[in-house]
């Protein structure tokens, strides 16, 4: 049995250190070691995006990343995107526009959408659909997810304009 390795991560701004087998998948390290159970496992084969987190600025599927690969990385999960007193515009928009039902895909959706709006602050509907195609939802039929993201984009842009 190979030795466990010393893993250091910064997760949602907090430094974390632990010993882990290199084969441990990042999703399980987050969920089971750090109790960040927002990201979920939906498919195991990098198709569904329920496990999406941000690693060093990229949205990735954490079911297809060994914790060893992520060693030293800065990670943001859904838990780091807003707090009960300060929800992110996307978190608010998903609720306002009924962008979720069972909620299982939602953490991955919002995490991916956060990045999408950073990359493209004024997406068209088509760009949202294309940019969210790595995240599957079985409940909503996507229509309200798309609506939520477009609404959040509008809100963020309006706030930016107001600030300028």
């Amino acid at each position: 049995m190979p030795d466990k390795m010393h893993v250091k991560l910064t997760v949602n701004g907090e430094a974390q250190e632990f010993l882990a087998e290199p084969r441990e998948l990042l999703i399980y390290a987050l969920r089971e070691r750090l109790n960040l159970t927002g990201p979920h496992v939906g498919c195991d084969t990098s198709h569904c995006g329920a496990c999406t987190v941000i690693v060093d600025g990229k949205t990735v599927k954490s079911c297809t990343l060994f914790v060893a690969q992520a060693n030293g990385a800065e990670i943001t999960t859904i838990e780091g995107l807003g707090s009960p007193d300060d929800l992110s515009p996307l978190q608010r928009a998903f609720r306002e526009h009924h962008g979720l039902q069972c909620g299982f895909c939602t953490p991955g959706m919002i995490t991916r959408a956060t990045k999408l709006l950073e990359e493209n602050p004024t997406p068209t509907e088509e760009e949202v659909r294309f940019g969210m195609a790595g995240n599957l939802c079985r409940c909503t039929g996507y229509q309200n997810i798309v609506k939520s993201i477009l609404a959040a984009a509008a809100e963020i842009n309006a706030a930016k304009e107001a600030a300028e």
Partner: protein, 284 residues
Amino acid sequence: MIPAPFEYYRPREMAAVLALLAEHGDEARVMAGGHSLIPMMKLRMAEVPHLIDLQDVEGLSGITVSGGEIRLGAMVTQAEIIDSKELAQAAPILREAALQIADPQVRAMGTVGGNVANGDPGNDMPGLMQCLGARFTLVGPEGEREVAARDFYEAAYMTERDDDEVLTAVAFAVPEGGYAYEKQKRKIGDYATAAAAVQIRREGASCAAASIAMTNLSDTPVWSEAAAEALVGTELGPEAIEAAVTAMLAEIDPSEDNRGPVEFKRHAAVVILRRAIARAWSRA
């Protein structure tokens, strides 16, 4: 789905990578983005007792366009290809193809080196690189060598690369003329039912040069010299295109899978190829 245990290495220098490969033989494997390898390991269809992560190895990154040449470091991701303004200018077919691979999260991890080294007939980059006449740089115990993409693929998962070699870069001349990457798939996240990469250079009314390759229609990518030749010197009338298609059909050898039976794939290949040629020509 949990992979079997392995020893993990993250060297900074190529020499260390090569030493590990030499030491562990076929028990060792390099990993780039991991988005072909890790799913296989999780399904326990690939066992890798010694996993060498290339992410920190120097000299494998970067996109350079200079002197009519394009060089992509092996660790350049599909997302980087899409985001590169330089590349969009110099070889827009790359962006067009990369956008048709997987989804945003996968493209953030998947690398060009992994895609071409993997040897999976479903991968899009090998056919694309054959179309572009790319050369792959391999580094091994004996030093460095270059292999043409068109000579690289032997069979599914079997390539010209020796187990103790690492692919460090992909290079090709800045392509000229019109281009198209056309792909039929069942949904985003699926591999090609049929895909075609076409580059066409036009002089006056006629075609001066062409290169055509197709993906997932055989156990290797199919670059068809005959198909290209059928176009060169013509004005791409129906007969020329028919000849190109016929030439390609003679070279592909698709197999049945969930995407459909052989007869359908052959038909889809024709349709996709025609569309790719038409689009490339319209841009030439």
